[in-house]
Symmetry: C2
């Protein structure tokens, strides 16, 4: 057979594997404490309630829950999501919400809708790896703006807009993956003003805002400027990832186009998962569940921060997120966390190197740590192991 | 707010809504007998067995079934699919199989992998609408080759390959949607020879081959030429569509690239559905279920064919499929089935007009009828109503 039988598209030749997925494979060894994943705590899943919901959906709704569904999604679930968003001040109608196969599909559809080959996009550095990956499939020119404690900085944003004519501003404004940072209200308004002035839509990727450990969080950008903002949300972190049910909330004229794109991409999202989540959540069970998650994850975050204070060397910096699942560690500049990872795995602890989250090269001395999956004992022990590694590495460099 | 706020990609401006989905909305009126859908019979779903399977998966496997999964899919399910394909003579290893969110996602990923903007693809006319729609997102130049009773004709295929340098040959070789036609072994071999000679991969879209009403069906093209053929399969027609679990089977070097594309598109397919189907199918329940479906659908096909023989005017032609869910009706050339549809809906019967299934303009005097969803009484009554409409229309034209 001819060796050059397969000819692939230009697009497909550019795709690279997810560093996270590769790292997670390497770090699957017995006894390892992994801060690498982004998984919700398995022990939190409300099994008994889901058994009741699935049985009901199978026995009473099979003519819908097991059949083909509409591309937009199961209407009662979309209505439930609209109500859910309403409590955060987001006024969304049911027909402004479409169900997606995870937020990753939302990102891909947004990419399809806005990017022609080589178009620019503004994003923070660091930012969510899955967005970088989804947009790279459209050969985007990524303009990564520096972050400070309040997330993406805006001092060069207007200049970048004028120079590069970006199609989108991509943000995870609240408890961002990977650094847990939140953009305050005033900075959100500045970004919205620029969006409005230059006609650049904002993607508000929002998987974490419900996992908040403080009284108040800034208003959603979608609530501040519903005409400019497309919001992505998901049940993966609020309930469980296995149903793969997320949503996209956009102005109707935009959503109608996204629906067409989804028709070509996968026609509809699994109806069974949509029905089960609706049945589970419709009488308020999800609200109680989220309250439990917040207590659990807050304790884990507290344990991680306290352990880092107790054990890390002074010149290792880290963020102190007020919600979400992740924090960000910054080592002295001459330390490369990718090179360090095998040594960490030797010590039975794992993380994701920071450069994976940079839309442009950078972040080599940083790492992302997750605190939702490991329990408090594992967190303390894992941070101790990391601290030991940091001290050894810094000592060696000091010599 | 600026009226030109939203700027969309070129790609997204070309998408058109699915005529099927629009038609199905129109035809959702009480009392209508619809031959329009492509749904498996709702009453066939094995509810009690699925209740047992879901409960087991929730109680015993929640740490996997409700969590994030790998992009490739749940390994035991992929192995089960490999075994399943093996019985049809397809030698596939587990690592040549990836789970997709319906076959529609398989088609989209194939499009991403092979098509640069404006590339050509060879397909039969008529053919599966979802493939036309998925490929149109890549602005493909569709080369629709004429069909006869044995499916796509091959007399001009070599010339088209030489002229247009197509990236793919797309086929539903067995019981094709929409016409139920099957390509015989000899013609399959001719197509494979051309594929091999000119380096044009074949997509074998195969949702229906298990729903066969005869003793023998031609060998799968993937079994005849595993190095040239990418096969798509699905549980939607064999069990139910609601879990949205399908698969793509391709040579490892090709599948590895498809996995990367899926990472960007939606990361993974819902793990819960994968686990439930595996739990349901692992001890052979699916085989028994398929046997029941074959008996049910064969009776419905028989009833539809017999009713058409009994009631249709002589100059209305139709296919006689040996399996699958659909057949194809051809009216005299001067009758336009899109214009006829509102009158059919008035008579409480519905179908999909034939031009929806043409990759190039054509098929205006044809229609697709589905016989898996309506029961036998509905089939006879619906065919009577169609016959009445045909006779009235032909009479009027005769005057």
């Amino acid at each position: 057979m001819n060796k050059v039988f397969w000819h692939f598209s230009r697009r497909s030749q550019m795709m690279k594997g997810s560093i996270i997925r590769e790292t997670l494979k390497i770090t699957k060894k017995p006894g390892i404490i992994s801060f690498g994943g982004g998984l919700p705590a398995t022990e939190s899943f409300p099994i008994e309630e889901l058994v009741v919901a699935t049985e009901k959906v199978l026995r009473e709704k099979s003519e819908h829950s097991l059949q083909y569904g509409t591309t937009e999604g199961y209407p009662p679930l979309r209505e439930l999501i609209a109500d859910f968003l309403g409590r955060r001040g987001i006024k969304a109608k049911t027909d402004e919400i479409m169900i997606t196969g995870g937020s990753q599909q939302g990102l891909d559809l947004v990419g399809r809708l806005f990017f022609d080959w080589g178009d620019s996009v503004i994003m923070p550095r660091p930012t969510y790896l899955g967005a970088i990956q989804a947009f790279n499939a459209y050969d985007t020119h990524n303009i990564g703006l520096r972050s400070d404690d309040s997330g993406i900085t805006v001092d060069t944003m207007e200049e970048e807009i004028l120079t590069n004519n970006p199609r989108l501003i991509y943000l995870v404004p609240t408890f961002q993956n990977p650094d847990g940072r939140t953009i305050p209200a005033e900075r959100r308004q500045k970004i919205i003003n620029l969006s409005s002035k230059y006609g650049v839509p904002i993607i508000e990727d929002d998987p974490y805002s419900e996992i908040n450990f403080q009284e108040r969080i800034p208003l959603a950008m979608r609530a501040m400027a519903p005409d400019h903002v497309i919001l992505l949300g998901t049940f993966s972190k609020l309930l469980c990832p296995g149903f793969r049910i997320a949503w996209i909330c956009a102005p109707k004229e935009v959503l109608d186009r996204i629906v067409l794109l989804k028709q070509g991409a996968d026609l509809f999202t699994n109806t069974f998962g949509q029905h089960v989540i609706y049945e589970y959540a419709k009488d308020g069970a999800l609200d109680g569940h989220i309250e439990k998650l917040k207590v659990m994850y807050k304790s884990r975050r507290d344990k991680m921060i306290q352990s880092m204070i107790d054990y890390f060397p002074q010149d290792v910096k880290f963020t102190r997120p007020a919600g979400g699942l992740f924090l960000w560690v910054e080592l002295p500049e001459n330390i490369n966390t990718t090179e360090l990872l095998p040594k960490a795995v030797e010590k039975n602890v794992a993380y994701i190197p920071g450069d994976a989250f940079y839309p442009n090269p950078g972040g080599y001395n940083c790492m992302r740590l997750n605190y939702s999956m490991p329990n408090e004992d594992q967190i303390e022990e894992g941070i101790k192991r990391l601290a030991e590694l940091f001290i050894e590495t810094l000592d060696k460099q000091g010599k």
